[in-house]
């Protein structure tokens, strides 16, 4: 009986897992190489990226911008959206190489007519997904700007942007 229960529990968990997975209608734009486990080196780089860039803002997933965008961002940290975000050259190199490895390769998501986008919020897939978001939602103090992913996407820092995880401050769930 116990064995049977265990098996059915496992089956239920499995089916639940498949259901959850299938329910995820969002494009997996956060990290293209999701299925591949990160190498030791990449794990260290990812941790460094999160620590350094995440000190001021959410460490946006590399897959949100193409290589050329990350290259430009990382070579312009002396004036990073109006602030000095420089760090020592070893750390800069390590983070740049990590971002380039996991950068977007899908032009439909991130290409801005061949130009070098520095803002994720200007890329085509992002613009399309946020077309119904009003200025009022964005400028309220709890959000501040469209760059503040976690204000509404409650699991953005883990790379998850599912619709059911959205909660817009003072507006509620996105339905």
């Amino acid at each position: 009986m116990k064995t049977f229960l265990n098996i059915s529990l496992a089956a239920a968990l499995f089916v639940g897992g498949v259901y959850l997975y299938a329910d995820d209608d969002e494009m997996e734009h956060a990290r293209p190489a999701y299925s591949k486990p990160l190498s030791k080196q990449d794990q260290a780089s990812a941790a460094l990226y999160k620590k350094e860039c995440g000190a001021c803002h959410m460490a946006y997933q590399a897959g949100f911008l193409p290589k050329r965008s990350w290259e430009k961002t990382m070579s312009g940290l002396g004036n990073h959206f109006g602030t000095d975000a420089t760090m020592d050259s070893a750390d800069t190199k390590m983070i740049q190489s990590y971002l380039m490895t996991y950068a977007s390769t899908d032009n439909r998501i991130t290409d801005v007519k061949g130009a070098v986008a520095l803002r994720i919020s200007q890329t085509p897939h992002f613009v399309k997904e946020h077309r119904e978001i009003t200025q009022k939602m964005l400028t309220q103090p709890e959000v501040k700007s469209i760059a503040n992913c976690t204000a509404c996407h409650t699991k953005a820092d883990t790379g998850s942007y599912r619709e059911r995880e959205i909660h817009i401050p003072n507006y509620g769930r996105w339905e």
Binding site: C56, H57, F81, G82, T83, D84, T86, D88, P141, A147
Partner: protein, 135 residues
């Protein structure tokens, strides 16, 4: 010698900065001496003035260290651009502070540029660190 080491480590932890940060402050002190003949040690009051006064920042707008860190170093602050919470600067409130010379150098460089639109001098950096340690 052993007692001296213990005493030294003890007094440093009382100061609120790690050995490597104290070492960095000694380096700043030597540079300050060469740059300013009348330099007679770092001063928390000068550091407070540097920290709390308003200047035209990198973006051409009025800016102060307190714009993000607030005037109470034991409180957490908020990045004035992104809204991200900044843990308290005071080592008394946040034991992680002033433990890594690399971190200290990085932030002093960045934040002087953001608030003063230039890098800080060795004396200014030492004064600010002294103010932070004492608060």
């Amino acid at each position: 010698m052993k007692y001296l080491t213990i005493l030294l480590i003890g007094s440093m932890s009382l100061m609120g900065a790690s050995t490597e940060v104290v070492q960095y402050m000694n380096e700043l002190s030597s540079v300050a001496k060469t740059e300013n003949k009348s330099f007679a040690g770092f001063d928390a009051a000068r550091g407070k003035e540097i920290f709390t006064s308003t200047h035209t920042g990198k973006q051409g707008k009025p800016m102060s260290c307190t714009s993000c860190h607030t005037t109470n170093l034991s409180n957490s602050g908020k990045n004035s651009l992104t809204g991200k919470v900044i843990e308290p600067l005071s080592p008394k409130a946040n034991p992680q502070r002033l433990t890594s010379a690399k971190e200290v150098k990085k932030w002093l460089k960045r934040n002087f540029v953001d608030v003063y639109a230039r890098e800080g001098t060795a004396q200014e950096k030492g004064d600010v660190l002294t103010y932070i340690i004492k608060n």
